[in-house]
Symmetry: C2
Subunit: 275 residues, 2 copies
Amino acid sequence: MATGRTHRPATRSRGIPEATVARLPLYLRALTALSERSVPTVSSEELAAAAGVNSAKLRKDFSYLGSYGTRGVGYDVEYLVYQISRELGLTQDWPVVIVGIGNLGAALANYGGFASRGFRVAALIDADPALTGRTVAGIAVQHTDELEKIIDDNGVSIGVIATPAGAAQQVCERLVAAGVTSILNFAPTVLSVPDGVDVRKVDLSIELQILAFHEQRKASEENPGAGIDGSLPAAEEPPVVAKRAARNQTPAAGAERSASPDQGPDGDVPAVMPA
Amino acid sequence: MATGRTHRPATRSRGIPEATVARLPLYLRALTALSERSVPTVSSEELAAAAGVNSAKLRKDFSYLGSYGTRGVGYDVEYLVYQISRELGLTQDWPVVIVGIGNLGAALANYGGFASRGFRVAALIDADPALTGRTVAGIAVQHTDELEKIIDDNGVSIGVIATPAGAAQQVCERLVAAGVTSILNFAPTVLSVPDGVDVRKVDLSIELQILAFHEQRKASEENPGAGIDGSLPAAEEPPVVAKRAARNQTPAAGAERSASPDQGPDGDVPAVMPA
DNA sequence: ATGTCTTTGTGAACGCGTGCACAAAGATGG
DNA sequence: CCATCTTTGTGCACGCGTTCACAAAGACAT
């Protein structure tokens, strides 16, 4: 899960719990699909299955929005689509800028899901003069120098950062200074922003690592003792020996495997695409 | 927050809470940066700041791994890097396949962060014969027909799905049948998988919608009553009229930009890149 | 050795989120 | 109009996760 909010005492959004807000888009997607099939109503059970959640949870979520269902029948699909869209603020137009038009930035620009839900790519911005003027997804790439003007002219309040990690914080500061108050960050860095600015982070590397953790656990479960070391009795004291041993073999485990001479020294290499 | 796990009673991973596991990669990144700067030790306070979390939380997280710190001093950077890497299973090689080499798939293939942490792109797979044979990021794209063989030959247990939504479930099933037990899903769909298979989801559209929600809230806070409608008194009845109104202003904008003839009718258009 | 000072590791309290289970609401049929 | 049946809306209890706050541990100086 793309994690990371920034500050904020959590539940404060006028009653609607953060966890519920995070699920609304899920419901909306399922409802949209039903709407396209001209299904008039759904029960919480059906919709929950389609969204991949528990029906009780779904009902409770909807209860925060109001009582939009009809007992014995279910929910009116169209009506619910409207209510959720409104609640999420999707009934208005949200101009968005994407900064950093590398592989990922281009992929985002081409993403159809953007426009389909109230979001409009107002501009693509990159620091590389070579890209300036070229068009991606039918939109001309503009130079970073124009950033402030673009934000201002289009009334942009949401920015997407798809730059290398090294440039992210600086870009972030310029966006914020120019008036952006919500940022979706794909760079593998912790952005620090002033209060009042929301940051959400999407980090592919982290997701993979979490998967690896569970994968490893699964493996050691069906084949105990196969772990590199005892692993399991982690509660024990892996005496100083281990500590020392670790000390020198450690760094960048990848060293031995050495498949490709990836990057030179830099291990945390921001690389071109973070996600 | 790339969200979405699938099933599983949560905390069961031999003591380490799920929330903690999700933060370990964050610590690891910060530690790696310190390691590169040859910093020998860090205090929980410093490291917490670098990772963007609360220091008490960080200490508690580490306490689940064991007592790796030294009171009065802090944590040994190298040692901690090793411990966390081991815990996450990053000391071993994880061959990964990416299915769906569109804009996003290509971006992922080019992502340097992959190789830098024990992950190795074993193969790129796509259903489009036009792509087969072409190389992306120095890796040849293979046809979907080879999927099972590739998984088997390389002992792949982690798969990345970057296909359009329509193909995701089917690809998922083939991956699972072939032996994959962890999936990172970028397609905007709910995947259903058998027990024992982990699924993590990354969905750009959802992240943006969550940002829009908060953005809208901010706007209506500093300018109450400016909302499209009363908004706040959501508990009220926004009669049928609104319902209709919403109907026709809403839908799929993406149609215009029409860059590529993605898919025809499908309204929830998976498009080329989901996330 | 002894004292002081820093920083960890954790017990305990609190709050959010989840899921159960059921009463109330309303549709539907006779 | 009444009975029955379906499905919502929610009170309640439980558990995970977060945070506070402090005692214990160890470094370091004297």
